[in-house]
Amino acid sequence: MLRLELRGEMSQPMVYLSPIFAVILTFIAGIVMFTFLGVDPVKAIITFFITPLNSLDGLAELFVKATPLVLIAVGLSFGFQANIWNIGAEGQLTIGALAGGGVALLFFNVDTPFLMPAMLVSGVLGGMAWAAIPAILKTKCGTNEILTSLMLTYVGLLVLSYLIHGPWKDPDGQNFPESRLFHDAAIIPIILDETRLHLGWIIALFGVAVAWVIMTRHMIGFQIRVIGLAPMAARFAGFKEKHIIWMTLMISGGAAGLAGTIEVSGPVGQIIPVISPGYGFTAIIVAFLGRLHPVGCLFAGLLMALTYLGGDNAQIEMNLPNAVTGVFQGMLLFFLLACDVLVRYRFRIGRLTKVADGANL
């Protein structure tokens, strides 16, 4: 008989092995799913996970897609460690994109090297402003940030929709709901010729490094970890919960806003009705898959980016529905949560183990 037994203490190897198990199980489940769909599973897996990576262009695309995921996930993991659940990164990304893109449109055709940094700063501030609403509501009225941040995502998308259907609509755009195409000074520089790989990837890597240092060596990270692990101990130390709520929501909102600006000034190049294919939500999975650790988020972000690319590829080459991407992302999170049980429990085969047989013989 197979049964679960509580471990004496948390298994450190399992903390890192669990995501790997989850990936393997996702592969296996994927093969089963493709078989039932009547598709050659080997070909499907190759098309999904291998083909996108066998060209320089493909690799560059992987980094392009991973950029927003990594940035947002790293930001979110600060909040998640402190048990502050910002679910509205998608909304903060949207408002950040509008704030950054707004600067580009405001200074349309102004050619200055200061424009790009101004856009990025504005994007960060935009994301922070949107995250400030749940922060105020939580600290002043005790509302649940999960609900407020999530609902504000839909408000953010409506703001985007209003602007590109009205004031920010391209005057020469034949009435399409899109802004003007940004001029060159408002486009983020490409760092690898012949590809779309842009400076944003470097910013994301830099973000990972900064987050790692803050999390492990800075007072901010220490306070966040303490409040997440033992809220009473945080009170004992004199760390103020309200400060930490603000800090984490500003970090995650700012990172999402930055990712939004990078998206509109990079791969997209204008403000369009759909800026992100759900990066803000996918980043939640990335954060957990990456164990709320900045470097973990980097790898998890790359893996998730691959599911986007694979989905596109499978759609083009094998006529598979795009929903396959969502299925893979969902399965990955599902298996991760299931494998996480092994961090605290272990499998035992057989009945209760006898320790000592004696008196009753």
Binding site: M10, F222, L229, A230, A233, K354, V355, A359
Partner: protein, 513 residues
């Protein structure tokens, strides 16, 4: 009595948890009508054994004989059918229901018939346990609540009654009442398994004692022929030295002052504090006695700054008004504090020892430079705590929850004391701590006072308070009596104060005389 069949006979009980052997080859024999003490430090394996007897847990091996017959008790309801009743340390009662309703919930349906209320009255009269079946539980004192649990057991005519730390929540007077009941039950042939740390009680009450240490039965004795000290030594396996009060000069000026402090609690079950006045001088230890839940936690939170008051003047450290300042400010003003809960309040369980040293020491020990943690300095600080306070640990990179209660408490005390506080406040400093560590901690509190610090100890343990304190006050329902010198106050007087019977009456009488 020797030819009688034992009521309960356990042989060779073993139980292992992952990484710990809780019981190893434990044998126990309880005769009818015997009050049998189970003695041991925390973690000695008493709870595991009791859980097995009451069917809450299975053992890995061993035999269970009830009146000579072998049984396997699979669950508590089977244990109750055999005639085993248990009064837990933590009551499971519903505040919003009446006494009768609470009892009806916990017993078999056949018993909970129409005449339950009459039965409760009968049993409570018969055993001197006054209890009104129609009262609501939230209106009852802790002692009365315990009576509900006892009556609930007695209604089922138990042959063996297990009592887990029954007196930890009672006043000395209530303890005396309970003992009368237990003796009477014993005369009627009911066996009682009595679990406690309180050695004097065991000496007064119990016929036989079985002593456990580290999961094994190490000794047994007739408590009436032993002294509390000799039993403590058997329990710990060492010779005990009681702490010495250092010689000290006259006390200095008041250094921790609480003035006219009142605060309405915002917790549902919190205690409102009413007009508390208290002064702790440099170089003295003041103890506050009281039964848990009379405002100790609330007072502690206000002293540490985890809860702020409106009037900054109501709490002073030296000349500094700190009523509106948080814990960080107060630490800089020279306050050190040790909360009741070690894991999760005084320390972060999952964090390493050096990070836990950093937790409260980062300001006063200057462990932060430009917002960054100075890891080397923090590690050095943690190492000095471990060596000076005799903390047994495989290393300071191990998590706080890998330490035993006593070692972690020594670490926490060391962390506060090495910051050279001028004032230290400790709530239940030795709760759940092994006797060796407890003695060490008490000694270090007295040493700190001898060096000129003002020390306030809030505790339920009267022996501890008499041992360390220069003056003792009592907290009852949010009011604190004025402290009196430990030499001039007796346990009986404290008991009365703890039960809310004001000594003003007596004082008035003596004044008249």
């Amino acid at each position: 009595m020797t030819d009688q069949i034992p009521r309960l006979e356990l042989e060779g009980i073993s139980k292992a948890y992952p990484g710990v052997i809780a019981n190893e080859n434990v044998s126990l024999k309880i005769m009818p009508g015997e009050i049998h003490a189970l003695l041991g430090e925390n973690g000695a394996g008493k709870s595991t054994l009791v859980k097995f007897i009451y069917g809450v847990q299975t053992a890995d091996s061993g035999s269970f004989k009830w009146e000579g017959q072998e049984f396997a008790v699979a669950n508590p309801s089977m244990a109750r059918k055999l005639g085993i009743g248990m009064v837990f340390q933590h009551f499971s009662l519903f505040d919003a229901l009446s006494v009768e309703e609470n009892i009806a919930i916990g017993i078999s349906p056949e018993l909970a018939g129409d005449n339950l209320s009459q039965q409760i009255r009968d049993v409570s009269r018969q055993y001197g346990l006054p209890l009104d079946p129609d009262r609501f539980v939230h209106t009852l004192s802790v002692g009365e609540r315990q009576r509900i649990e006892v009556v609930r057991c007695l209604l089922q005519n138990p042959k063996l009654l297990i009592m887990d730390e029954p007196t930890s929540v009672l006043t000395p007077q209530e303890v005396a009442e309970l003992f009368k009941t237990l003796r009477r039950l014993s005369e009627e042939g009911v066996s009682i398994l009595y679990i406690s740390h309180k050695l004097q009680e065991i000496k007064d009450l119990c016929h036989v004692a079985t002593i456990m240490r580290m999961g094994r039965v190490v000794d047994s004795c007739i408590p009436s022929e032993e002294s509390p000290l000799s039993m403590a030594e058997m329990m710990m396996g060492v010779n005990l030295v009681s702490p010495e009060k250092p010689e000290k000069s006259a006390h200095g000026d008041p250094h921790l002052v609480v003035k006219n402090l009142s605060l309405q609690s915002d917790h549902q079950h919190g205690v409102d504090l009413k007009n508390i006045n208290l002064e702790v001088c440099k170089g003295e230890v003041v103890g506050i006695a009281g039964i848990a839940g009379n405002g100790q936690i609330e007072v502690m939170e206000i002293l540490t700054g985890e809860v702020l008051v409106e009037d900054p003047n109501s709490v002073l450290i030296g000349e500094i008004c700190v009523g509106c300042e948080g814990p960080k400010f107060r630490r800089n003003a020279g306050l050190g504090f040790v909360p009741e809960e070690r894991l999760g309040h005084g320390a972060v369980p999952e964090m390493s020892l050096w990070e836990n040293a950093f937790l409260s020491g980062f300001q006063t020990m200057r462990l932060v430079s430009r917002g960054f943690i100075d890891v080397q300095k923090s590690i050095k600080y943690a190492l000095s705590i471990v060596s000076k306070f005799n903390v047994k640990t495989p290393g300071i990179k191990h998590a706080a929850n890998s330490l035993s209660g006593g070692n972690l408490q020594k670490f926490i005390f060391g962390r506060e004391i090495l910051q050279n506080p001028e004032v230290i406040v400790a709530l239940q400093p030795t709760w759940g701590v092994d006797a060796g560590s407890a003695a060490f901690i008490r000694q270090s509190l007295m040493d700190l006072a001898a060096k000129g610090a003002a020390v306030l100890v809030i505790s339920q343990d009267l022996h501890e308070l008499f041992e360390v304190s220069d003056r003792i006050a009592v907290i009852y329902e949010g009011t604190v009596s004025s402290p009196r010198p430990a030499e001039d106050i007796t346990v009986e007087e404290i008991g009365l104060l703890m039960a809310g019977i004001s000594s003003e009456v007596e004082l008035g009488l003596t004044a008249d005389a």
